[in-house]
Symmetry: C2
Subunit: 279 residues, 2 copies
Amino acid sequence: MVKRVAYLGPPGTFSEQAALLYDAQAQLVPFSTVAAVATAVASGMADEGVMAIENSLEGSVTDTLDMLIHDSTLLIRRELVLAIEHCLLARAGVIAEQIDLIYSHPQVLGQCRRFLERCFPKAAVEASLSTTDAVEQMLQRERSAAIAGVRAAELYGVQILARGIQDNENNETRFVVVAAEDSPQTGHDKTSFAFSVAQDRPGSLVDALHEFSQRQINLTKIESRPTKQELGRYVFLVDLEGHRNDAKVAEALGKVKAQAYFFKVFGSYPRFDAADASR
Amino acid sequence: MVKRVAYLGPPGTFSEQAALLYDAQAQLVPFSTVAAVATAVASGMADEGVMAIENSLEGSVTDTLDMLIHDSTLLIRRELVLAIEHCLLARAGVIAEQIDLIYSHPQVLGQCRRFLERCFPKAAVEASLSTTDAVEQMLQRERSAAIAGVRAAELYGVQILARGIQDNENNETRFVVVAAEDSPQTGHDKTSFAFSVAQDRPGSLVDALHEFSQRQINLTKIESRPTKQELGRYVFLVDLEGHRNDAKVAEALGKVKAQAYFFKVFGSYPRFDAADASR
């Protein structure tokens, strides 16, 4: 049976590109929100779900983090890193000088701010819910353009006026593949988890992090999200090098769990290697 | 001379409400982006600027964090906490049953997700660049509504169909007042700063945080932002209890600075006290 992979649609988004990178043979099923992708996997409508978790310029995708913390028992089974190339798209015949309105997702507009200020100082920008929505809005309006990926240009058959217009060349997005189970040990793994500790005592966070440093476990990410209960109360999200079944990782996680108010492992999975992506 | 306070406009936003809470006598000057507010203050067009930095449900306002890290020499002089009450607004005569489209800022739509799913399951939502833009879009379209604050309803003279529609009652936003100088010691202060350390060595972050815990300095917030150089490289943003001129805080900050690649103090300011706000 063909594997069904849910992703944040519609077709043409970078999530679709990531899903194709993950498994080009799978049946890709678009959903309109991160929560819907998670629900599709949890309910068996899809076997796995692909969602963005972090961008090198904009930071974390908070919908994905909040879903992992609050709403789901799904585990992270794989990570993928995709280089993001934004393009300025317009209908056939439109020339740059005519453009007075540019559509895109707010995060994408943020990633192309310098390009827009330099090349289109007089054009208005308008926020869209996705890069694909931006292309559809552009198709409805004279003298407008949209910022989206190459794949959207292919799908809609529109012209690419400019390519690689993001402000920073180091624009990469990290995606995770979620499923009912995570991955077995490969010896080259990462583990993601979340916890919260008493914040009215100096050092409670430091004590928890010390469980890893004293065992020579490297933390590759630390991030905080609101608990949604009170301003100033946080859940910490940590990525570390190693698998949750590695002896020293298991021991450190056990110690943190024992002193935490909230503790949840999001899964262990092979570290992404760019060489894997070009297989 | 009347003090000029820049804020993220247009009038009717929660930033305007925060600016009024901060100084109702000041001349309030709206700007269209966080970067423009900062530039207005840095260039002397305004004396101070008010900008949201964190919401209890949605987390940090990344534009503000990135401006403080990368773009500005302004210092935080004050913090303010505002309870956020979202309202559903419509033109006179419109009744709830007719509404098939609801406009608001994406973050606000996120904060009212449950209300929208329950009460308007068939209505479409559309992202706006601000809550005030949402009201203006609503005024242009039949059978639509907008989510915004009470102040926007007053300014535009529209009806309030529902009040307090946010999913979580603990919806508060923390604002900062930025200026050329921060505040002197009051004995009841907070300090915000940012730093980055070598991340390929286990424990370098823990070592830095240990400088505070061993001096009994409480950290009230820790957060990471991308350095914008490479996925997986972060700047850590920390708020602590105390003033940068307090002896033990100064000593700990000096130790962190000595081992950091990047180090920047955003300022020391009096801790917000809800009682101050009702003076």
